[in-house]
């Protein structure tokens, strides 16, 4: 079930999602990271970050809100401890990077040049957990493009821009990133949401808003993949948002994704990525697809058979 994301060929199309698998190690009791298409690591920034105060999560119908605030060790500790672990186990790494400025993105990408096991960079320009909505790069085509351009300038691995669904026109943002050199797109990050605690009469999350993920958002995610693939059929898409099963993954593939990330499902089922992979393989076989690539974007074509 090989697939490719731009210049990178993956053994199979099922990856973890950034922020839902840490850097892979904690999943080892439940799955072999080398058996996944790749492990997408939690977005890493230049310096260590504490993340926000708790509560950082709220369960919602068929989903959850999170407001982690990009807690992480910073790029140096990540390079020293996290990436080598993946490389030693033969797992491919898609490293998600984040930054508070174009320069920070570029700096993090720079430090990752030549890192062992690094297959691809996912540029998280869309995390809605950060306080100032005005500063979400993914909501502004220009800012998004600036980040992509700066990262492309320093790295040799393919660069995927990860977009936010919280925009009026996701195709415009996608196009802007691709024009700036993005080799592909990761769709989608979480939706901005709020839950009020009806006992304390205040928002549950310290950050008031958080990112909504899980099956609740799957139709929005499939729609984004559909729209972007329709507009930019040549651009590889890593699809995600609410994938729980192989058939969910197949929806993304049919809508235009070349590979998928399994995120929140891991919290429900730590071996979800390998299960989804097995189910997707079976679903493709049952539908007579000799290979995954035959199914990518097929839902855009007029009824066949």
């Amino acid at each position: 079930m090989a697939t490719s994301l731009a210049a990178v060929t993956l053994g199979n199309p099922v990856l973890t999602a950034s922020g839902c698998a840490a850097a892979g190690r904690e999943l080892a009791p439940f799955l072999d990271p080398a058996h996944l298409g790749a492990v997408v690591t939690k977005s890493v920034m230049l310096r260590p970050r504490s993340g926000r105060a708790t509560p950082r999560m709220a369960e919602t119908p068929s989903g959850m809100l999170n407001s982690i605030g990009l807690q992480g060790p910073g790029i140096d500790a990540f390079l020293a401890h996290d990436l080598p672990w993946l490389a030693e186990r033969g797992a491919r790494a898609v490293v998600s990077i984040a930054g508070g400025s174009v320069g920070e993105f570029a700096e993090v990408a720079q430090r990752l040049v030549g890192a062992p096991g690094l297959a691809l960079l996912e540029v998280n320009i869309s995390c809605p957990n950060v306080a100032s909505r005005g500063q979400v790069f993914a909501c502004d085509p220009m800012a998004a493009a600036d980040v992509v351009r700066a990262v492309k300038a320093v790295t040799t691995v393919p660069v995927f821009a990860k977009l936010s669904p919280d925009v009026t026109d996701i195709v415009a943002i996608a196009r802007s990133c691709v024009d700036a050199g993005a080799d592909g797109l990761s769709l989608i990050n979480t939706l901005l949401g709020t839950v009020i605690d009806t006992d304390t009469l205040r928002p549950v999350l310290t950050g008031i808003t958080g990112g909504l993920s899980g099956p609740a958002i799957r139709p929005v995610a499939v729609r984004c993949v559909w729209q972007v693939h329709a507009a930019l059929p040549g651009v590889p898409i890593l699809g995600m948002g609410g994938i729980l099963t192989g058939l969910d993954a197949l929806q993304f593939v049919l809508a235009g994704a070349s590979a998928v990330s399994v995120g929140t499902a891991v919290f429900h089922d730590p071996s979800a990525p390998t299960r989804v992979l097995a189910e997707l393989r079976a679903a493709l076989a049952a539908r007579g697809f000799p290979q995954l690539t035959d199914a990518i974007g097929l839902a855009h074509r007029e009824p066949h058979r």
């Binding site: 922020g19 839902c20 698998a21 840490a22 904690e26 999943l27 009791p29 439940f30 939690k42 920034m45 310096r47 260590p48 970050r49 504490s50 993340g51 926000r52 105060a53 708790t54 509560p55 950082r56 999560m57 369960e59 119908p61 068929s62 989903g63 959850m64 999170n66 982690i68 605030g69 807690q71 992480g72 910073g74 508070g100 950060v130 306080a131 100032s132 500063q135 310290t206 899980g214 099956p215 929140t264 891991v266 919290f267 429900h268 089922d269 730590p270 071996s271």
Partner: protein, 282 residues
């Protein structure tokens, strides 16, 4: 031991006071689990809107029979579903999870303080402590009689037991912590263990410190994954290097050295936490 994901048949389920005691057949979890560890249970059945697992301390884990037990307080919809599950059905479990209580290097006298269902992990702990030569004194408290769990068993596994209820319906009227000054000051007492609501843990931690006693607590933070990948369950904990970090209570806890936890800062982001300075970037 390594955590496993298993489908565990419900052997029995019965009300015990305000709680539901659920016995499960889960050999992969029972073997090697230690007191203070917990399991994460999928709730709601297929097509449920409840995506996240619910966590429960292991009350017993018997590698010989392969059985484990949990004590469930009905709280919201997830536990509401769980207390209704019938024998013969299967529960999807992940466990054992988290860092357990550790025994003292040298035997002594241990005081075990438990609030409500927080007593669940204490009985196995008491047995292990006694087997290793320590004396065990238990303080078991709850809001009211039916929210006490395991008083009779406490009398079996501990050398002495004090019971408190907020309403005085059983035992001494008051909080478990009202009993501690006397107990912690007794000669020979060398260590303290506690499990219960955060406010109780904080008070126990304070008292242990004032008596200069080592104290381990099992905390209960809201957890999305239970396995260390999501970073929702953190609290500010002081490391060996003296610096405070936001530490995951599911993998680095739920058992912590009480004096490492920055109790009054739980739910806040103190400025001196490692990486807090990077937060105002955006």
């Amino acid at each position: 031991m390594t955590a496993a994901q298993v489908s565990a048949p419900v052997v029995s389920t019965e009300p015990v006071g305000a709680y539901q005691l659920i016995t499960l057949d889960a050999p992969a979890i029972a073997s090697g689990a230690e007191p203070g560890q917990f399991v994460a249970v999928a709730v709601g059945g297929p097509e449920t809107a409840m995506l996240l697992r619910r966590c429960f301390a292991l009350y017993t884990a018997d590698s010989a029979t392969g059985r484990i037990q949990i004590v469930v307080a009905e709280h919201g919809p997830g536990t509401g579903w769980l207390v209704q599950v019938r024998p013969g059905s299967e529960l999807d479990l992940v466990g054992p999870l988290g860092r357990p209580f550790t025994l003292p290097d040298t035997p002594g006298a241990a005081v075990l303080v438990a609030g409500g269902y927080g007593s669940a992990p204490m009985f196995d702990l008491a047995r292990r402590l006694r087997a290793a030569g320590s004396a065990v004194q238990m303080v078991v408290g709850a809001g009211s009689a039916e929210r006490l769990f395991g008083v009779d068993e406490a009398r079996v596994v501990a050398d002495s037991v004090v019971v408190t209820t907020d309403d005085g319906s059983v035992g001494v009227r008051g909080l478990v912590t009202d009993m501690l000054p006397g107990l912690l000051g007794s000669p020979g007492v060398s260590t303290v263990y506690a499990c219960g609501p955060m406010a109780m843990l904080r008070a126990v931690a304070g008292l242990a410190t004032s008596y200069d006693l080592p104290c381990q607590v099992a905390v209960e933070e809201s957890m999305a994954c239970g396995i260390g990948v999501c970073m929702t369950c953190v609290l500010p904990v002081v490391g060996a290097d003296g610096r405070t970090r936001m530490v995951r209570s599911c993998v680095e806890g739920p058992v912590f050295e009480a004096d490492r936890v920055r109790w009054k800062d739980v739910g806040t982001l103190p400025g001196d936490v490692v990486g807090a300075d990077a937060m105002d970037l955006r």
